[in-house]
Amino acid sequence: MRFNILITLAFAALLASCTPSVPQDARETGRDVSIFPDYTYVVLPPNIAPCNFHINDSTATEFVTVVEGADGQQLVVGGQDAMFGESKWHSLLEANKGTDLVVTVYSKNAGTWQRYKPFTISVAEEPIDEYITYRYIEASYRNYNELSICQRHLTDFDEQVMYSNRFLGGVNPENEFQCINCHNFQNYHTDNFQFHVRYAHAGTVIVRDGKAEKYSLKTDSTIGAGVYTAWHPTKPIIAYSLSHTVQTFLINEPDHKIEVLDTLSDLVIYHVDTNEIQIVQNSFNSFETYPSWSPDGKYLYYSSSWMDLEGKNTHYELGNHYDKIRYDIIRQSYDDATRTFGEPDTVVKATAFGRSATHARISPDGRYLMFSSGEYGHFMLHHFESDLYVKDLQTDSIRPLSNISSNRAESYHVWSSNGRWILFSTRREDNTWTRLYIGYFDREGRDHKAFALPQRDPLYNKKLLKAFNLGEFMVEPIKISPQELAEIIEKDPVPAKFYK
């Protein structure tokens, strides 16, 4: 049972009891203030939760933070952790849509108040989808233990567990230890979604029109069960990559300790209505992964790599050439009436530039293809050089999202339903613990500096010994409870049929 309610009450009481006064005779320091998370000069959606931050100044004894809107409305809070009341924060943002907020931090050093250089926070006109889901996982190598898929309400700090592997976990690793992964929703709504359960009670949980069922997607004709997932935006079809994944460990590279490789990797689609698995790509020497549909559902995008393999010991062969494995982004048209795919068409030929491109995501208006790109490989979060890029499908031009990206890994990005916000995973804070950040992508196709998913405790990301992954936007909350999901998970799976 979390302490959210207690903490909320405590903070509310604290905020109500002590609104500090703004120092009048403060000395200008002429210096920029250092805060964590870094919310300086970011663009926020008007409906985002308070962006509480910690002031990195170990010498000062008192702090006052003033957030002022264009209309003169002010939020004033004290303390090294600047924590804003939700209702005042929301009214300030609502009143300042399309303008800038000016944030001024005061600190008291040796009895004298001083003022840092103010910074601005812009408030966009366009709201962000109210919900996201993500998985909490340890920054693990081989082992994992406590996994939970959670739903977060973005306008406040409410976090609910959608399903945790501890709900059915227990003493016996042989039948009470499970992995849960790859949650995916159809077109931002929660009536239709899915996630996988591995090991104990294995299967893929598919929620259709609010009703859950568990399936075994492994057939005799495919190399395994589904992995990376993409619901068709309108039809009851789910695309999956299938893969055999291994790890290679780097001896002496601080920035890069582990490389994840697929030794086998194919692509299928699953017809939910008929419970049939249909192969899209299954060549031995080509490795397909990270499927994604275009918003109109006419194209299936994915990443693909080609390796000439002898096939005696694929792990060894690939392990010795891990830094030569590169992926392009391919698409194939899909005709649902005939269940047929068109010829593969290379959309981003990253290998031509000695790079690898993965995680194709088409913007809701169909104009932009966003992807992550690193020097090699497909598991970009282990690559500090991995950044986000967009290809303008109208002009065929590719450019990096330099304002959103950092000098550390970015990957696993998704568009909000209105196409203005990008939720992505990044290791920018410490190169290890993946965090969720959100960036603004304006109507002209320009990206802006991204901000950390707001947390009540501004140092939460530093304290938390869990990583976030697979952030997904939703326009509504999940309607099925963990208890209901657990009931389904405990049942035997329905075996999928192979579609010839």
Partner: protein
């Protein structure tokens, strides 16, 4: 006076004996139990723990466990609490003074549980196991005390409801134990109450766990606050605890039963039962000598007394591989590896544990760290953190690895965690100076790392077997520094890689013509030359190692025996060699390495 003595003597005897026994036998265990626990003064930590019902008891246990950093302090604290528990039980359950000894039974069994801890102490999924049974029993005792002291029947109903519904989420099993114990005492007076409590205990925990704790399996609702996640294959370790719980619950009826035999006889019987419980302690104690050595070694490393490690390891007669690895590390640090490594046993014992047998899981992180393999050390500390829980030890190892990897942002995360602890904050603060790149560059360990781990982009697909990986890596170290040469030669001797041995050995001799080769290198050179059946080569090698030297002389005395063994290995000659040449590479080559040495 007599009545006072009837109370004080058993309690005082228990306190003195418990403290003395634990101080003599369990200081290392207390330190290691503490080092593998984790208590950080932070709400994020509380939020994580409180995802489980009954979290408050292990949380309190974890708080107290931190004081075992100084083992005598931890032992004194546990002794004090157990003595207090005994007094509390006597008072709460209204035991007559002559039956005070009965109240000692649960505390003694808690001591038995502590002493029965095996390798599981290196990986527990629950916090505070060292103290939480004691804290939990104290809570149960207070709950029982209140329930049997309430004057009105309606108050008992309210109290039972408050405990079962209201305190279960915080106290878990111990709330149920307390109310059940009180109910057993009240049973005769109120059958309806008994039935309602029994029904409540049967139903409410499941409903609450299932409804409110979505990160907890409600099948274990009745074991909440107990370390049930650590039971896999180790239930025997925890049996004294269950006996303690059962004895607590049944103590009042037991006292009534004994009392029927009269004061004197019942007092004798109570003492006899207490003595019987005391006998359980040594019987249940995990007496594996490798375990005792290993926890002593971990204690020494944990408090920075690395100098004690070699002595501890060399005294272990049939060591497990972790101890062999530590022994070699310490010999290497002293520059004595190639002179002494085969003087000690290489025939490894298996880890006598029911659930944690893999040496790499137990000690891999520290072993890799000693050889400055920061990435691999970090990996194994992280694997352990994920599999079990964060611990002071793993957090320290990860922090240090990352400091030496010069990843300041990540180091800050781990150091900040440790700075929020009671006994590791000073260490964490001291590490911060190494976040300065210039200071780090000049640090002796960082320099050592640069001499050993030269490969910039090497990748290895499996680090599951720490010792094997290191030996394989060191055997193939061709780019030489003196530090690498030593490790390379040692590894090629262990792996019996003649080509790699000659390559490094001859390069060393060429680079330093006046070098006096270490003893085991001389032994190996002579043996490998003999194996080639080339008299000219053998003569050259004899000249190289020094024909008048002790090694050459010993070799010549046993040359026929070695020749026979090379031609046709046989047990009789091998046994003779063991007698004539103990502690030599020859003995390792023909005996120890042939006796199923498995590198873990």
């Amino acid at each position: 006076m007599k009545r006072t003595l009837q109370l004080i003597i058993p309690l005082a005897a228990f306190a003195i004996l418990t403290f003395a026994y634990l101080a003599l036998t369990a200081q290392d265990l207390f330190f290691v139990a503490q080092a593998n626990d984790y208590f950080v003064y932070d709400w994020t930590h509380v939020a994580r723990i409180s995802e489980q019902p009954g979290w408050l008891v292990p949380y309190a246990g974890s708080f107290l466990t931190q004081f075992a950093y100084h083992p005598l302090q931890g032992i004194a604290l546990l002794t004090l609490l157990l003595t207090l528990l005994a007094w509390l039980m006597k008072w709460a359950l209204r035991l007559p003074r002559h039956l005070t000894a009965l109240a000692l039974l649960p505390p003694v069994l808690v001591v038995a549980f502590v002493m029965g801890w095996d390798y599981g102490v290196f990986g527990t999924r629950h916090y505070g196991n060292l103290f939480s049974p004691t804290v939990g029993l104290m809570v149960s005792t207070l709950i029982a005390a209140i329930s049997i002291r309430l004057p009105k029947r309606w108050m008992q109903y309210v109290w039972a409801a408050v405990v079962i519904v209201g305190t279960y989420p915080w106290l878990g099993f111990y709330a149920l134990l307390g109310i059940l114990t009180g109910t057993i005492i009240n049973m005769r007076h109120n059958k309806l109450y008994t039935l309602l409590v029994a029904a409540g205990v049967a139903v409410v925990p499941y409903v609450e766990a299932h409804t409110f704790f979505v990160e907890f399996n409600s099948r274990y609702a009745w074991q909440a606050a107990l370390p049930f996640m650590d039971y896999y294959k180790t239930i025997g370790t925890w049996m004294p605890l269950y006996a303690a719980f059962a004895l607590f619950a049944l103590m009042h009826p037991l006292a009534n039963l004994l009392n029927k035999t009269g004061e004197r006889l019942s007092a004798v019987a109570a003492v006899a039962l207490a003595v019987a419980a005391v006998c359980v302690v040594p019987l249940h104690r995990f007496t594996d000598s490798n375990f005792s050595t290993l926890i002593a070694v971990e204690h020494a490393y944990g408090v920075g007394e690395d100098d004690r490690v070699l002595d501890l390891c060399t005294k272990q007669e049939q060591p497990i591989r972790s101890i062999i690895m530590y022994r070699n590390i310490e010999l290497w640090k002293r520059g004595e590896l190639l002179d002494k490594m085969f003087q000690y046993s290489w025939v490894a014992d298996t880890v006598h544990s029911r659930n944690l047998r893999h040496n790499t899981y137990i000690t891999g992180a520290r072993v890799f760290q000693q050889y400055t393999f920061w990435n691999f050390s970090y990996r194994w500390a992280m694997e352990r953190t994920v599999m079990f829980n964060p611990s002071y030890t793993d957090m320290q190892i990860m922090a240090q690895d990352i400091v030496y990897n010069h990843e300041p942002d990540l180091a800050d995360k781990y150091l900040s965690q440790l700075e929020n602890t009671l006994y590791y904050k000073d260490w964490a603060r001291s590490q911060r100076r190494l976040l300065d790149a210039d200071v780090l560059k000049a640090d002796s360990i960082a320099m050592l790392h640069r001499k050993i781990v030269l490969v910039p982009h090497g990748a290895i697909d499996n680090t599951e077997f720490c010792e094997y990986l290191l030996l394989k890596y060191f055997t193939n170290l061709f780019a030489l520094t003196p530090e690498r040469a030593e490790l390379s030669l040692a590894a090629s001797l262990v792996m019996e890689k003649e080509d790699e041995f000659w390559q490094v050995c001859l390069a060393e001799v060429k680079a330093n013509p006046n070098i006096i080769l270490p003893r085991h290198v001389q032994e190996a050179a002579l043996l490998f030359a003999l194996k080639k059946q080339n008299p000219a080569l053998l003569s050259q090698i004899k000249l190289m190692v020094g024909p008048q030297g002790a090694v050459c002389q010993q070799f010549e005395r046993n040359q026929d025996l070695l020749t026979r063994l090379l031609a046709q290995p046989n047990e009789a000659d091998a046994a003779t060699l063991a007698t004539l040449c103990p502690g030599t590479y020859w003995n390792y080559f023909f005996n120890d390495s042939r006796r199923g040495t498995i590198f873990d």
